[in-house]
Amino acid sequence: MYFTRKSMSEASEVIFKEQRQLRKEKLLANPALIIGAIGFLVILVVAILVPLFSSVDPNAMSVTERFKAPCAKYIFGTDEYGRDIFIRLMYGARVSIWVGGCVAAFSCILGTIIGVYASYFKILDQILMRICDGLIAIPGILLAIALIAALGTSNWNVVLALTIVYTPSVARTVRASAMVIKEQPYVEAAKVQGFSNFKILWKLILPGVISPLTVQASFIFAQAIISEASLSFLGAGIPAPAASWGNMLQDSKLVFSKAPWTMICPGIAVVVCVLSLNLLGDGLRDFLDPRVKGGAKK
């Protein structure tokens, strides 16, 4: 039987269509992914757009408006300094997303470079993985606290400290996946054909580590948001008076028994944001795992 070019393209069209259909079914069978993605997108949109639709300064204080309970004017009430909690909450989303996004991006880039090279060169592997083991052995927040204590508090130092905390685990994940791919026949074939190491690493091995990396990026994003909140809560995070969820929680530390809304609102914001990202991560893991079909493991 002959395949003309036309019939070939028609055949592949059918296959593509079928794959698209399968992917759609798999997506719809995955409520975690959908809920997580929607939750995260809503927070993301608010964070990006808040300066456009609100002209209120999140740090504007008003002595007469202190500790106002939630009402029509201030739907989430005001804090100790009479600042509008709803406005601060939205600006806090900017800080959390910025910290989480930067940490996830930087630690994934660094971790990928380390992991890919470690998987490929034996001596490098020994050195890099021992360093990663050592860094993983130090409890995360404690390492971040120590780094910030040495470097001083600033937004970028928080990002730097948390990037150092999360990079080793990315490197480990990437290395583990890259080790499997390295043994695949097509990589062997490329080696025999004389491909350069650089080309093998970044053109052949890298695509295979993208899906575990994406999953981990969303978990690190979530973890970084929790860590930022914890660090700021301790006074070792984003410098006050910037509106971050952790700073808002720190401000409420001494007053939340008489003004519980100062704690409950940023608290729920942290939980919703982290929960969305965790759901997104869980959902992505199932979605990207080829063994999982239509939501359930085979």
């Binding site: 052995a137 409890p139 927040i141 404690l142 120590a146 204590a149 470097l151 914890s230 929680l249 939980v271």
Partner: protein, 316 residues
């Protein structure tokens, strides 16, 4: 068994070396050297460089590191300029409350997570399972200190069941001690339980459909015995490892939560040291807590060897 323990101990050497370098770097990296932190903002550059030289911080990196490392091995972890005592004695003084809190939290975590995890695995796919998984998902999104604030509001502020904050040493009586630690330990325990529940559930699910379980059922053993003895026994090593690995997050959770409840533990020590820029104490705490974490995991690994006979040498 001894060889196994020896091997595990040897593998800790590179880890602890890296940890020591990181702990050293914490002090080394301070812009302007440790003297700027000790002398404060008002010091002149001359005073700073004089103190740096006096403390030996003007020497090359490796000389300083080796010198410091030798001291650490000899039990000299430096002095706190603010507390007027050695770092090790300060850590010893503040460690008790943290340990109490961590142990109590771990007990709460196990009491909550193991039964819930077993139930969820046994009733897989039912409403109980879905509820357990949802709760543990929620718990994993909840920082411990935040849950503490919620529980504090509910139990201490609205109902005066527990003291709002503070700490009673064990010498004040066990009852009083536990009364003060109850809320912080419960909140840390719940957060910890979120992770352990998932681990218990998944490790039990892994074994519940094995053939020996079918055999046990087929020979007419009671369900409770099948699940709790045959099932749990084989799932235990994974749960045990999870307990060890989550010890790090437990102890950092403790550090954050202590500051909320004014518990005079390592967390309070760390935080007041950050405010005073007392870097040697912070360095000491990092080193101490990491050693503790590594040791806990070593103990877990050794226990794992006892629980799982396949790991014991001479038996394959």
């Amino acid at each position: 068994m001894l060889r196994y323990i020896g091997k595990r101990l040897l593998s800790l050497i590179p880890v602890m070396l890296v940890v020591s370098v990181v702990a050293f770097l914490v002090v080394y990296m301070i812009p302007g050297g440790p003297a700027t932190a000790i002398l404060g903002m008002e010091a002149t550059p001359d005073q700073i460089s004089a103190l740096n030289a006096q403390l030996g911080f003007d020497r090359p990196f490796f000389v300083q590191y080796l010198d410091w490392f030798g001291n650490v091995l000899h039990g000299d972890w430096g002095n706190s300029y603010f507390l007027q005592q050695s770092v090790l004695s300060a850590i010893g003084e503040y460690f008790g409350p943290t340990l109490s809190l961590a142990i109590l939290a771990q007990i709460f975590a196990l009491i909550l997570s193991v039964p819930l995890g077993i139930l969820a695995a046994y009733k897989r796919g039912t409403a109980i399972d879905v509820t357990a998984v949802s709760i543990s998902l929620l718990g994993s999104a909840l920082p411990g200190f935040l849950l503490s604030m919620f529980l504090m509001l509910a139990f201490s502020v609205y109902h005066h069941w527990f003291p709002v904050a503070g700490y009673a040493a064990l010498s004040a009586g066990l009852g009083e001690h536990l009364r003060y630690l109850f809320i912080p330990a419960l909140s840390l325990g719940i957060v910890q339980a979120a992770y352990l529940t998932r681990m218990t559930r998944s490790s039990l699910l892994d074994v519940l459909y094995r053939n020996y379980i079918h055999t046990a059922r087929a020979k007419g053993l009671k369900e409770a015995k099948v699940v709790l003895v045959y099932g749990l026994k084989n799932a235990a090593p994974i749960i045990l490892t999870a307990v060890g690995q989550s010890f790090g997050s437990l102890i950092t959770g403790t550090i954050v939560t202590e500051t909320l409840f004014n518990i005079p533990g390592l967390g309070m020590l760390t935080m007041s040291s950050i405010n005073r820029r007392d870097v040697f104490v912070i360095q000491g705490v990092v080193l101490f807590v990491t050693m503790l974490y590594v040791l806990v995991n070593l103990v877990v690994d050794v226990l794992y060897g006892f629980v799982d006979p396949r790991l014991q040498p001479g038996r394959k």
